[in-house]
Amino acid sequence: MKKFKSLVLIQIKDIYYNAQNSMNIRNKKLVYILQLILLAAIIAPAIYFSLVTYQAFAQLNQPELVITSMYVNAVILMFFLGIPIIVSVFFFSKDIRFLTALPIEEEKIIFAKLSTVYIYLLAIGAAFILPSIIIYAIKTGISLSLIILGPIAFLLAPLLPLLISSILVLTFNKIIRKSKYKNLLTMVGNMLLIVVIIMMQLNITQKAADPAVIKNAFLNNESLITLIGLRFPPSIWMTKMLLGSFTNTLYFILINIIFVMALHFLARYFFKKSLLTFTEGSRSNGKIRYKKASPGWQLFKRHMLIIIKEPTFLLNALLSMVVPLIIYVIMSFSGQFSIEILNSAQIKPFMVLIYSGIMVFPAIVSNISSTVITREGRAFWQTKVLPISDKMNIKYRIMTTLVINLSGSLILGLIGYILLPVNLNMVLVASFFTISLTLFLANIDFKINILRPLLNWSHPTAAVKNNMNVTMTLGIRLILGLILFGFYKLSGNLFNNFNSIVYILSIVFLILYFISRYYLYNIMVNRFKKISL
């Protein structure tokens, strides 16, 4: 047990210190303040939402449903966020081989890794479930069952989503482990898994939204809890457990035990055959080819391959492209959205804005330029000793971002052109806007990476996700969005149509791009030179 405890502790410490180091801020106090701000930014809306939900259910004389409702929401979020974390912790972590060599049972290694995911999910639960339990306790009075069972419910909450997700992910990866394209399949498969879970949830929500079901629910108190709990049935047991039902406490704890045992059984089965093969490099029997290419092409290829060959980087780069498509597919399947809505007379005048928004989406959500130096990690020394200029070194890094983002824009633009009622003029205006904003943002994001290169990371996730650079790029986009909204509000009837607004903004961003480009290649380049390991 002592070994297991140490293993869990070291994993948690590793995650915590990596997250702290990724902020790249020397002042410890500032790190804590930022962490508190981040925590407040997550918890404050959850508290507000819990309060509103409580009031709604209190009017129906069933205030305890605030816990059921928030628990269900948290569980869905845990499913959604749990899958990429499980994939990253199990399949793309670099410590599996090291851990295997330790004198500790294999299933304990799996459980130690799961406990790190559990901590992540518990933090999500803390933001959603805890406020609902506390608000319920304050408003209705604290009972003994709530004091004893409340913390148990909170601590057990992440277990079910964690265990179900793990079993799904491990089973799926067991099937594809022999494939040559196991990394790509892992990503695509797990993204599909997320889509399936969301679609299932939407399907159930739709069923729950059936007027007959709702009417029945309001007539019958039991049905209302079933209606909410339909999306995740154990939530019903959990709510009733907090109300003091012994049978439901038994059910809830029993199902958690069953899942833990199932995972325990599977852990041994998965470990060597599945997880270890994922840490192996691929072995090719291909021929040796001597190909000549220009240094520029080689640099571009290098930065592209760094993204393509590292699953975490690829997922990070591609997710931004596919998010609008995933949203569209899900909403179409669930019947919440149809193309007819966009063809309506009220929407038509805004079409150029909608189409521009779709095309520019990859540039806005993508932050790959802010981690292009970081992604190279400790191999950064190599381009520094090559006989190439610093400007050239910078140019092809930015070009990688431009090619990826503009390819995404092109795909989304083509799909949009097929599906939406847009004309050629709108396409040209939106394309101009996309190109100028993509160029500008790629330059600005790259400057952030020059200022905060962060080359010493131990896990790719730390390079592209647990990285303050990414947060900073989001901040820039938020400020930019507010400025654009202000511009739109202030312009009023100044322009005849939205085409003119988008056109003017494109010119503004193009000018800003040239200014930032000058600054990058003439001033920031000196800072780039100073980057060292």
């Binding site: 691929s282 040796i288 220009s294 080689q298 191999a379 020394w381 520094k384 610093d390 060292s532 390991l533």
Partner: protein, 242 residues
């Protein structure tokens, strides 16, 4: 061929003087050994020579070109084998070598001839199509050495090159270093293996706490034929009697 003039490096984060007023001259065609205890400033010096680190004061000329003012010409004159084989490892060995060959503009014929020769010598030829990720530490080190020899640089700079190599590969590398110098090239390398330095080098420099404490030919350093380089090294770098 390589000239360091009053070179100083102060790390901004801790204000530590890692290298202090270092002067060195490495001549064409010689094998120059760079010695020092751990943390003496060897790697920092090599990083400044190769442009990975900024120089705080002084200047470094590589093949007559200032690494700070004329970096491309200076960098075209040397290749580096670092102390840790940290390279982008998701590509295959041959992809890496093609990358290096393109960067130093090595023709197809030359690269084919040299990759085959060096890879066979280092017994890596059969593994070139495999992902670098699957290589052992020693294999990565060999790949870096092949990549460094490929452009036939004027100066070959190696930081602790023998660390991960097996005895056979270490012997091959030593022979290649000699061969490189015979062809008019220069080798600058740091090592802890004093025996190797003693057998291989024309001249050695010993650095301690960022300062040069000795730089001469082995014969002159020894003065008395009874003592070894190890005795000299320990005597010069020891704070207390061992």
């Amino acid at each position: 061929m390589l000239s360091l003039k009053e070179v100083t490096k102060v790390y901004e984060n801790n204000n530590k003087k890692a290298v202090n007023n270092l002067n060195l001259e490495v001549n064409k065609g010689e094998i120059f050994g760079f010695l020092g205890p751990n943390g003496a400033g060897k790697t920092t010096t090599i990083r400044m020579i190769t442009g990975i680190l900024d120089i705080t004061e002084g200047e470094i000329l590589v093949n007559g070109f200032n690494i700070d003012k004329d970096p491309i010409k200076a960098k075209s004159s040397f290749t580096l084998v670092p102390d840790h084989p940290e390279i982008f490892d998701s590509i295959s060995g041959i992809e890496y070598l093609n990358f290096i060959a393109d960067m130093y503009e090595v023709s197809i014929q030359d690269r084919e001839k040299m990759i085959e020769k060096y890879a066979r010598d280092f017994e890596l030829y059969g593994d070139l199509t495999q992902q670098i990720k699957s290589y052992s530490h020693g294999m990565k080190q060999k790949l870096l050495v092949i990549g460094a020899l490929l452009p036939e640089p004027k100066i070959l700079i190696l930081d602790e090159p023998l660390g991960g190599l097996d005895p056979r590969s270490a012997r091959i590398l030593k022979n290649m270093m000699r061969e490189h110098c015979k062809k008019g090239g220069t080798v600058f390398f740091s090592s802890h293996v004093l025996e190797v330095v003693e057998n291989l080098c024309d001249r050695v420099a010993i650095i301690d706490e960022g300062e040069l404490i000795a730089c001469d030919s082995l014969e002159n350093l020894k003065q008395n034929s009874e003592i070894t380089l190890e005795d000299i090294f320990l005597e010069l770098t020891a704070d207390e009697e061992i």
